[in-house]
Symmetry: C2
Subunit: 219 residues, 2 copies
C-alpha cells in the first residue's frame, strides 16, 4: 500500500472511530486497527493526535460543504426552500446512520473544546466559514420577501446552525427524528418566515386590502 493511501485510510478510520468514541475515547491503537494499519505508522503521518483530529475535522467539513453547495446553489428552489432543503438533506444522512451518529462538529464542540485550544479555534473557524453561504441565502430570502428582514442575515445563519446542532443532540438521545422535524416545522413557521405585517395581512380576511406580498408568496 502506498504511503499516501495508508495516510488516507487512517484519516477515514479516524472519522468512524471518533464518531463512535469521541476525541478522547478514540485511541491511536483503535484508529490504526480500524484502518488495518500498523500502530507505529501513525506517527509517520501525524505529529500528534490533536493535529490528526484537526485533519479529520477538516475532511468532514469539506464533505459538509459539498452538501451545503448541493442545497444552497440549486436555483430551481427559492432561497427559503433551499435552506429547508439543506436540513432535509442532513436529515436523510442522519437517517441512513439510524439516528445514532450526529455531527462531528457538534460532538467535538462539546467534547474537545475544553481541553484543546487548537481544536476549539479550528471549530470556531469552521462555524464562521459554515455560516457564510447560509447568510447569503438568508439575505437572498430577505430580499425576496420570503424571510423577515428584522435580523441580520449572518446572525440568523449563526442561530440556524447552532440551534440545529441542538436538535441533532436531542435526536442522538432519542434515536429518532422527532427533534429534527420539530425544529424544521417551528423555525420555518416563525424565524424564517415572512415579515409579520404582510403575513398577518395574508392570513386574516380583515386585512384583505393590504396583501402586497401575497402574489410573490404564491409563485
Amino acid at each position: 500500500m502506498s504511503r499516501r493511501s495508508l495516510r488516507n485510510d487512517i484519516l477515514q478510520a479516524g472519522l468512524r472511530v471518533m464518531f463512535q468514541s469521541g476525541y478522547r475515547g478514540a485511541s491511536v491503537r483503535d484508529i490504526c486497527a480500524a484502518a488495518g494499519a500498523p500502530q507505529g505508522s501513525f506517527t509517520n503521518h501525524f505529529r500528534s493526535k490533536e493535529a490528526f483530529a484537526g485533519e479529520v475535522l477538516d475532511r468532514y467539513f469539506d464533505y459538509l460543504q459539498e452538501l451545503v453547495a448541493q442545497a444552497l446553489k440549486d436555483d430551481t428552489f427559492t432561497p427559503r426552500q433551499r435552506l429547508k432543503r439543506y436540513l432535509d438533506i442532513i436529515t436523510s444522512k442522519l437517517e441512513r446512520d439510524g439516528w445514532r451518529i450526529g455531527c462531528l462538529i457538534g460532538d467535538l464542540s462539546l467534547e474537545a473544546s475544553s481541553h484543546s485550544k487548537r481544536l476549539r479555534k479550528r471549530l470556531d473557524a469552521i462555524f464562521k466559514k459554515w455560516r457564510t453561504p447560509f447568510a447569503s441565502c438568508i439575505a437572498a430570502a430577505q430580499s425576496a420577501g420570503e424571510v423577515d428582514s428584522r435580523f441580520d442575515a449572518t446572525e440568523l445563519a449563526e442561530f440556524l446552525l447552532a440551534s440545529w446542532e441542538g436538535a441533532i443532540l436531542r435526536m442522538k438521545v432519542e434515536r429518532r427524528p422527532a427533534a429534527l422535524e420539530r425544529f424544521k416545522t417551528i423555525v420555518f413557521e416563525t424565524v424564517f418566515q415572512k415579515p409579520r405585517a404582510s403575513a398577518a395581512a395574508r392570513q386574516r380576511p380583515m386585512h384583505k386590502g393590504s396583501t402586497a406580498k401575497s402574489k410573490r408568496d404564491r409563485k
Copy 2:
C-alpha cells in the same frame, strides 16, 4: 471521614472532572484524586463508572431543577418573562465559569449516548422531565396571549431546551456569550411572541382555528 460524606465527595468531584474531561475522559483515578479519596474506595460506593455517571447526572439535574423552579415559579413575572428569566439565570451561571463549561446534560447527550444505553435512556428521561415545567409555563403564556398558540406547548418546550443546548455548544467554542444572547433575542421576538395577526391588528385572534381555512378559501 464518614462513609456517607466520602461518597458525596466522590460524586461532587465526579461532576467537576466530567465537566472537564467528559464521561470517557474522566478516569476513576482522576475522580478519586480530585475527591481526595483512595482509589479503592470507588468500588465500595459505586457498582460501575456508568452507574456513577448516572448518579452525577441525577444530582446535576436536581440542581438544574432548582434553577427552573426559581425562574418559572416566580409570579412577580409574566409567564413569558419567566421563560426568559430562566435563560438569563443560566447565562449568569455560565458567565461565572468563564464560558468554559456548558451543560452536563448536553455534554453527555453527545458523548455518552453512543456507547451507554443506560445513560442515553437516563438522559431521555431527564429531557422529558425537564420540559414539563416549561410546557406549563408556555401554556400559561399562550393562555395569557403572550405567546402564539399555533404550536403545542410541549413541542415548544422541547424546541426551547434543545435549541438552547445548541447555543451553549456554540458558546463553548467561542468562549463568549454571543450565541446565548443571539438565541434569546431571536426566539423571544419570533417563536415566543404574540400571535402574528394580533401583532398587526393589536388584538387577539377571535377564532384561532379558522385562519388556515379562510386563507385557503380565498385562493
